[in-house]
Point group: C2
Chain length 201, copies 2
């Protein structure tokens, strides 16, 4: 694992890591990709990958150009009162979409996922492995339906409010949506829910 | 409004009505389209349009090739106990998506809405005017957020379960989803919700 002799500016190193990461996540998926393998393909030390990005999940987010850091979301939710995490998540979600730059980045991701099967597979893997398992999985019990029900409610909201822009949802103040949605998300996080018996894992 | 002298078989008449309807809904929107205008453009008596389709909302559903009759959904929900309409709607929704023919039709609608702005506008109008107002508006109080929150939850579910096919949501038995989602939908139908003050109508 010695450093190679290549010398590059910070920008070049970061870009080489992201390029190697994108290729590996697309080819091998999240589980079979390692920080060590990305570092080897990029010709850098694994410590440098962690120095730039923090973790495998964060390299994946950066490789996808996902506009928010999944572990910072997880940290902010973990810091909230467990009985108010539903509300905290709705606020975080609306805050991310309210930023025009974030919104454009997410819409670009969705557009490429709709038109390109490899991009779709990477986004599916990111949502299923990183957002549902690494982020949400740490905050709820082991019922794997919980993060997916939360994802379904928030994805559908984003579609109608920000993409299709149906009124009065599109111009509805955030606080009204927080009051409407927080109890739903809180129940999916901590309420009584059946386990998905009979489903494939 | 006299009948024209044209003679056509049933199939030809039905097709001519749908063609005139599609052109008018696309050009003028739902509110400015009338059964009378569609009949005139198709060269038939307005009574024949109603005979074939039942109502303007139903002509619109047929013109879009929407696979279920919105008024039959409204009728089945209206027949259910008001406190169990959430459950009834989740069952109806899962039943529509479980039919491969319906699923293909909805996916074709979504694909053309993604790639074609006029198709997107018609689908938006159909969901906003027909499904939210004509169907859901008859079953809930006047808060216009109610049908949109229901639509957001169900659209997000369909996206993750049937389009992206994330496990364990994709293979989860219907009954588990009914138990998980019915309380959400019931609350959006009849529970305490803030009104969308400050939103555009």
């Amino acid at each position: 694992m010695a450093r190679t002799g290549r010398r590059r500016g910070d920008g070049g190193t970061r870009a080489a890591i992201l390029e190697a990461a994108r290729a590996s996540f697309a080819r091998a998926g999240y589980d079979a990709t390692s920080v060590r393998g990305i570092a080897r393909d990029a010709g850098v030390d694994p410590a440098l990958v962690l120095h730039y990005f923090g973790s495998k999940a964060q390299v994946f987010a950066a490789a996808l150009q996902f506009p928010v850091d999944p572990l910072s979301i997880a940290g902010r939710l973990a810091a909230a009162d467990p009985e108010r995490r539903g509300e905290a998540l709705v606020r975080l979600f609306l805050g991310v979409w309210a930023e025009p730059g974030n919104r454009r980045a997410i819409e670009a991701l969705l557009r490429s996922a709709v038109s390109n099967e490899q991009a779709a597979a990477m986004l599916r893997e990111f949502l299923g492995r990183v957002m549902a398992v690494e982020v949400a999985g740490r905050l709820v019990d082991g019922n794997p339906l919980r993060p997916l029900l939360i994802g379904a409610q928030l994805a559908g909201l984003a579609m109608l409010r920000y993409v299709v822009r149906v009124e009065p949802l599109a111009s509805c103040p955030d606080e009204v949506l927080v009051a409407a949605l927080a109890p739903t998300i809180q129940r999916y996080m901590t309420g009584d829910l059946p386990a998905p018996e009979g489903a494939r894992p």
